[in-house]
Amino acid sequence: MVEFIQHIINGLSLGSIYALIALGYTMVFGVLQLINFAHGDIYMMGAFVGLFSSRWLGLAAHPSLGSLLIAIVCAMTVCALTGYLIERLAYRPLRKSPRINLLITAVGVSLFLEFSGQLWLGADPKFFPEIFKFDGGLLKWGDIVLNPLTLTVLIISLSLMALLHILVTRTRLGRAMRAVSFSHDHAALMGIPTDRIISATFMLGSALAGAAGVMVGLIYPKIEPLMGVLPGLKAFVAAVLGGIGNLTGAVLGAMILGMSEEFLVGYGSSAYRDALAFAILILTLLIKPTGLLGHGKVEKV
């Protein structure tokens, strides 16, 4: 039972990382109907920005919550800028072209980030410095032993999600984003600068992925330029599972995915861990293609 609860908490922590990435996918899909393949690589960039900022700012010398937050803010800023540049240079010129061209461009951007990263940073894994340390050691609550890191990651991601929720539901920018995702043309007629809103959406999503990158660097301190591929795909699966375009759905799907992975590794075999996400994706698309919380759309001529 104790083990079971620990698996649940680890699963939630893993799921919250997937959720941060999945939110970016689902937001971009909401406004552009585009699967931003490069999203997983932005998350990779977040991890590397965290690494370099802690190196340059000397954060590893004072491991604390403050250092972690500084690294996260740096990563979020750089990733937001990258997201903006990608949207501006690669996706905006293709706004009017067929979907398949946009898809191929997205794949191209993703591979460009991965392999130019490999070129500059080297393909060998780098070690992420320990910028957060909890002095009290492991947290004990009865028989349940918790790693404070896991808990911190969970809390930070949940707060980021809460911030995003407030932003989307309570602010002018959020309202504009929802309008754009409803219809570009109608939003433009109401005086909403669609291109700017789309850029803002990209920046927001990328910033969340950057934060996820830093926190993953803390938990699994080996980072390399291709590390974004699998988590990116898994987060996409989470977004589809929850119903793509739906923010709550993305978080729900990510939590389910994180827990099922944790349980598969804990009680089953880890050999098929990476195939699990794809199996979930295929099942979702076959049984309920709109996802758990998504709305169906009838295709018309």
Binding site: L34, I35, A90, P93, L94, S97, R99, I100, N101, L103, I104, T105, V107, G108, V109, L111, F112, E114, F115, S116, Q118, L119, V229, L233, F236, V240, A271, Y272, D274, A275, A277, F278, A279, L281, I282, L285, L286, P289, E299, V301
Partner: protein, 326 residues
């Protein structure tokens, strides 16, 4: 028809001639590789370019074909060692292995295609990517084909005449298929699925048929590849290979068989050029994937239809083929 027979004979003569030259083994190996890539690219073009179903897991079918052919060849040569050393017998067995690899890949294409082709566009792309990964994980965990150690000692039967003979024959088959009613149905599905369905095209069966045919030829190219490299491991057919096939199709033009062949030759040449740069010590880094991805981005932003668009080489140089441009 006569032109195709002529092309077949010419390809065989050319291949035999090139092969008989001594001191050109390196060029020969590149030509073999280019031919295999051309077959892979055209088989993907059938699915992505002509039927409009963007697939990102094509390397999976190549690996199924390659592993099946290699497995059969290894088993046959351990049971009938006399037959495999015999020059005529080994050629016959090679043909059987190639067909076996192709058929296995076609079977995999059917299993993958039937559920996933209900999806469209981006979803289909991700699901095929996922199936490609699943195929790789399954091979990684199958001990009969060596698992993570890979499969070594595959007889190296692939020669230039084999590659180019099969390439021309496959191109002929695909060309005729696309001229016929079934191929027209593929293109109708690409243009507009609802319109195609309303004039009586069974869109699902057209898509699955295109997928199976594409998988078959990808499997054939995998068999040729396995028997030229004589060593396979699951990493040989990872996502990068699928991506290589995609960029060949996009560069050549989605919907142009000759474009894919040309692009396969160009990119294989480019790859060797970059490898030369590395070997000569001019640079120590592997620029291949970066160059590919930049090429893809530039292509999409400036000339999204690729080199040939939907035209074939006979439309571009009509005089050579004695016909009018269409």
């Amino acid at each position: 028809m006569i032109r195709w027979i002529l092309a077949f004979v010419l390809a065989l003569i050319f291949a035999n001639f090139t092969q008989s030259l001594t001191g050109y083994e390196y060029v020969n190996s590149i030509l073999i590789y280019a031919g295999i890539n051309a077959l892979l690219a055209t088989s993907l073009n059938l699915v992505s370019g002509f039927t409009g179903q963007f697939s990102m897991g094509h390397a999976g079918f190549m690996s199924v074909g390659g592993y099946s052919a290699a497995w059969l060849a290894l088993n046959l040569s351990s049971h009938f060692p006399a037959l495999t050393t015999d020059p005529v017998g080994s050629q016959a067995i090679f043909l059987i292995c190639i067909l076996f690899g192709g058929l296995q890949a076609a079977l995999a294409g059917y299993i993958v295609g039937l559920p996933s082709l209900r999806l469209k566009g981006d979803y289909l792309a991700i699901v095929t990517l996922g199936f490609g990964e699943i195929i790789r994980v399954i091979i990684l965990n199958t001990q009969a084909v060596g698992g993570p150690r890979g499969l070594a000692g595959i007889p190296s039967w692939t020669t230039l005449p084999w590659v180019y003979g099969i390439l021309v024959a496959s191109l002929f088959y695909m060309w005729r298929l696309l001229q016929g009613s079934r191929g027209r149905a593929f293109m109708a599905v690409r243009e507009d699925e609802i319109a195609a369905a309303s004039v009586g095209v069974f869109t699902t069966s057209a898509k699955v048929r295109a997928f199976i045919t594409g998988a078959f030829f990808a499997g054939v190219s995998g068999s040729l590849f396995a028997h030229s490299l004589s060593y396979l491991n699951p990493q040989t057919f990872d996502f990068n290979r699928s991506f290589e096939a995609i960029i060949m199709v996009v560069l050549g033009g989605m919907g142009s068989l000759s474009g894919s062949v040309l692009a396969a030759f160009l990119l294989t040449g480019l790859r060797e050029l970059l490898r030369l740069l590395k070997d000569q010590g001019i640079t120590e880094l592997d620029y291949r994937m970066v160059v590919y991805s930049i090429a893809l981005l530039v292509l999409m932003l400036t000339r999204p239809k690729g080199l040939f668009g939907r035209l074939e080489i006979k439309d571009l140089i009509p005089k050579l083929f004695g016909g009018k441009a269409t």
